[in-house]
Amino acid sequence: MRDPFTVLGVDEAADDAEIRRRYLALVRDFPPDRAPERFREYRAAYEALSDERKRLEMTLLGTNTIALSRLCTAALLAASPGSSRASKQAVAALLAEGIMRTVTDKRPPG
């Protein structure tokens, strides 16, 4: 399982309120009835960080990739939704991937 900070996308110094806010936002986007696996992952991450001592355990006794995640998010900030069109190749590749996925039944996590 990925580290809970990265799953929720919260800083190691985030407090209870911030973690809860972020968790609720994610659950709103991926509710259990529509994305049960993702919800389970968010729930587990939230439970792992919901208490000050648990958070400290996660920080001190493990490693996380939240800083790298923040760097990637910063890179993604430069994008704006729907401002452009994809190429013909990108669409073709997406269709081919969907067709292949149907017969291999291998879907990426989440």
């Binding site: 890179a75 994008a79 939704p81 729907g82 069109r85 190429s87 669409v91 991937e97």
Partner: protein, 836 residues
């Protein structure tokens, strides 16, 4: 397999033999052989059933090839089943093979002939075929089949596919929303091409109506070939905020490319995302190197990302410090400790964690965060110590339990953490450190007066100290917080009934009745207590309140399960109260009458539960005599198929009240039923020796040692502990503590042992020497050794020592006392002792 001769005609006799062989090969799933056999047969006599069998053999062969990922070959084999109408035996499987082999053009051409035609395919297969057909026909431009004229429905399919492709092309080319919309209107919402319409609709209407887009997208199910497209469109249009790293990394590279283009992500950002993902896939070292070479990124974030990689590659620590400046001691030790854990070097991990704890004390003084950090690390050390004997702890003696000592330190560092305190209480209780248990509970309950778990502990602690008023006070406080807590109510009733028994034994009926009236206050009306009913009834019987007492007694017996179980409970209570005369006679008569019914598992377990009360141990003789009367009935229950856990509870009770003959019969019967389970043999040995380890033969000792090893190997620590506890004469010290001592001794070379013993014996006082000589005179040399082993076992360090080591030490003491010689060395015994 040799191919059958295909040159000349086959005689009818040999054709029959061939048919039998072919059928057998098909049945045995030797498809290749079956194909080779059926082919010449059909050439000579094209019987429909043989043709059908050949097609079946081809299908089987193709599936076998596909299982080996030989999709191209599998597709070629299926093509052999091509019928005169141009259809194949297994069209969906064939389509899968073509797609898996990347032959999308051929796959599209294949599905073209199936769409819009009457088909014998089952509805589910047909739906899959149609979904795939739609996706393929959109992905691969295909005109009508020149070999045959399309039906009206087929022509419609091709028309919808063309409309879908044109709509996509318009969107790609940057056509206006109205233009794309116009194209989309050509795609029927009831056709298999509906997903294309939905996807493009979302792309052209975003980001104005996110909810509507979400609803539309949900119509494309995960099993659809358009689902990958749906996920990409959702990431492209639905993220209200900027797309975050988590969502990005959940996309496949193909989806990422689509999203990057659609969201107009700058090339530098795309490059960074791709390269960082690639570096992360290549391992921490590659990622560390990549991040180091990113001067344009925020350096605080780069530092944090690199710091998190260091436990996986502590050799980069100096490089990190050179670049970002020195780390605090605490961080350095933490990284080294995590790195040692990663290597499984537990001793080193312990050393670094302890250094980290020491560093927080120095670096941060009384800072709250530092205290919490110390608490977390020390608790972690306790957890590690419970799993890894290499963790030695920092107690004064080498037999101190490191789990407890680390938990104690953790509670000192972070005294506000209730879960930590409760964990330590649990360990004190398990380790029979009663003074520590009571002390900690007293302290904790003052610190956390409203914590129900601690109040329950405080109640139990006070009860164990026979401080009834204190226990009652805690129980009242607990019930204010948690009025339903049935555990504390039951305990208080039991405690008060125990007081009533004492009064009854002393002949003070009124006081006994008063105690029971007080016990009734703990009872909830909806959960009546059998024990209380029976006790009240017996007091009333003794007081001569016949009718009322009898009615109450029968009510109590009914609550206790009726039959043998209920009347045994009443008789047991009678014994504990030392009831005599007609009242005792009544109980005996009723129990004897009920014993005529054969035993059941539930009845026996109810008796076990009744015998498990604390008061029964204090009145062992009376209970044993009652149990003796149950002997014949209990023996009948030996044939019941007991689960090991049930058997264990039963065996403990039988052994506690010296019913070893019953236990022996149970163990023998269980062993006959299940000879492979060593636990039955263990109980057989316990019964034979009457629970006394001095009666063990050498063979039995070795057998039990092997049982412990086997139990440890299969990680059945409960069984291993149980056998070890028996071997050490009932000591409750946990296995890991004893193993820790054994592990310590195991680290010594065989040559070190005599030296160690000699050093220990040098300081032996003269008085001790005289005592040993006296023992030798009285019991002989071997007898003196045995006697001393027994005595040593009772010392605080004794339970931690493996038996052979204790024996060796005592032999050395005797040798030293008698003739001042060095002990006889027995390296194999030490080794086996440590293993045990």
């Amino acid at each position: 397999m040799k191919k059958p001769n295909q040159r000349g005609p086959v005689s009818s006799a040999s054709l029959g033999a061939l048919a039998a062989r072919a059928a057998e090969a098909l049945k045995q799933q030797r498809f290749k052989e079956a194909v080779e056999l059926f082919k010449p047969m059909i050439r000579q006599d094209p019987r429909p059933e043989w043709k059908q069998s050949l097609a079946e053999a081809y299908r089987g062969r193709a599936r076998a090839l596909a299982a080996k990922k030989m999709f191209k070959e599998a597709a070629m084999v299926v093509e052999n089943t091509l019928g005169s109408d141009g259809t194949l035996a297994d069209p969906v499987f064939y389509l899968h093979c073509l797609i898996r082999d990347g032959q999308h053009q051929k796959a599209a051409a294949h599905v073209r002939q199936y769409v819009g035609t009457e088909s014998t395919l089952p509805a589910e297969e047909r739906a899959i075929l149609e979904d795939l057909a739609a996706a393929l026909l959109v992905a691969v431009p295909l005109g009508p089949d020149p070999a045959r004229a399309p039906s009206a429905e087929q022509a419609r399919w091709l028309e919808l596919a063309a409309a879908s492709r044109e709509a996509l092309a318009a969107w790609v080319a940057g056509a206006s929303a109205q233009e794309v919309e116009r194209q989309l209107n050509r795609i029927s919402l009831r056709s298999a091409f509906r997903p294309v319409r939905v996807l493009l609709k979302c792309l052209i209407t975003m980001p104005q109506d996110a909810d509507r887009s979400r609803q539309l997208l949900e119509a494309i199910p995960p099993e659809s070939p358009f689902f990958a497209f749906r996920e990409a469109v959702a990431a492209a249009v639905l993220a209200e905020r900027a797309l975050d790293a988590d969502r990005w990394h959940r996309l496949t590279p193909v989806q990422q490319a689509f999203v990057a283009q659609t969201r107009n992500l700058p090339g530098t950002a795309v490059q960074f995302l791709a390269r960082s993902a690639e570096a992360a896939r290549s391992g921490p070292s590659a990622l560390f190197g990549f991040l180091f070479k990113q001067p344009d990124l925020p350096q605080a974030e780069v530092r944090s990302a690199c710091l998190n990689l260091l436990p996986q590659m502590p050799d980069r620590l100096s490089q990190f410090e050179k670049h970002f400046g020195p780390l605090p001691d605490f961080e350095r030790h933490r990284i080294q400790a995590l790195a040692a854990e990663g290597r499984g070097d537990w001793a080193k991990a312990e050393r670094f964690w302890r250094a980290a704890v020491a560093a927080t004390s120095v670096d941060d003084g009384d800072d709250r965060q530092a205290k919490l950090s110390r608490g977390v690390i020390l608790r972690h050390l306790a957890q590690l110590a419970a799993k890894h004997p290499e963790i030695e702890g920092d107690g004064d003696g080498f037999l101190d339990d490191p789990v407890i000592s680390y938990l104690e330190r953790s509670c000192q560092a972070d005294p506000d953490y209730v879960a930590g305190v409760l964990e330590l209480i649990g360990h004190y209780r398990a380790d029979s450190r009663l003074k520590d248990w009571h002390r900690l509970v007293d302290e904790a309950v003052q610190r956390f007066p409203d914590n129900s778990a601690l109040l329950l502990q405080a109640t139990e602690s006070a009860m164990a100290r026979k401080a009834y008023k204190k226990a009652a006070g805690f129980a009242h406080r607990l019930l204010k917080i948690d009025p339903i807590n049935s555990g504390v109510r039951r305990q208080m009733i039991e405690l008060q009934v125990a007081h009533a028994r004492k009064q009854m034994r002393a002949g003070r009926l009124e006081l006994a009745a008063k105690e029971l009236a007080a016990a009734a206050e703990w009872e909830r009306p909806d959960v009546p207590s059998a024990l209380l009913r029976i006790a009240q009834a017996l007091v009333e019987l003794r007081a001569g309140q016949g009718a009322q007492a009898q009615a109450r007694l029968r009510a109590g017996v009914a609550l206790a399960g009726s039959g043998v179980a209920g009347w045994f409970r009443a008789a047991l209570e009678g014994e504990l109260m030392k009831l005599t005369g007609s009242s005792a006679g009544l109980l005996r008569q009723e129990l004897a009458r009920e014993r005529e019914t054969p035993p059941t598992k539930e009845a026996v377990m109810a008796i076990v539960s009744a015998l498990g009360q604390s008061d029964t141990g204090e009145n062992k003789r009376a209970v044993a005599s009652l149990l003796l009367g149950m002997r014949a009935w209990l023996l009948q229950a030996a044939v019941i198929d007991w689960l090991p856990a049930e058997f264990q509870a039963l065996a403990e009770i039988l052994a506690r009240f010296d019913a070893f003959d019953v236990l022996a019969e149970y163990a023998r019967t269980a062993r006959r039923r299940e000879p492979g389970n060593p636990i039955w043999r263990f109980h057989e040995i316990v019964a034979r020796t009457r629970g006394n380890t001095t009666r063990l033969t050498m063979r039995e000792t070795e057998e039990l040692g092997r049982m412990v090893d086997a139990a440890v190997n299969r990680e059945d620590f409960r069984a291993a502990n149980r056998i070890e506890r028996f071997l050490s004469g009932g000591d409750d010290a946990p296995l890991r503590r004893r193993r820790s001592a054994a592990a310590l001794l195991d680290t010594l070379d065989d040559d070190d042992v005599p030296e160690l013993f000699a050093a220990m014996l040098e300081g032996m006082p003269k008085g001790a020497t005289d005592s040993v000589r006296g023992l030798v005179r009285e019991f002989g040399r071997d007898g003196a050794v045995a006697h001393m082993v027994e005595q040593a076992r009772a010392t605080p360090g004794g339970p931690g020592m493996p038996d052979p080591v204790l024996r060796e030490l005592c032999q050395a003491v005797v040798a030293m006392a008698m003739d001042g010689s060095q002990p006889r060395q027995a390296p194999t015994a030490r080794r086996s002792g440590c293993d045990a």
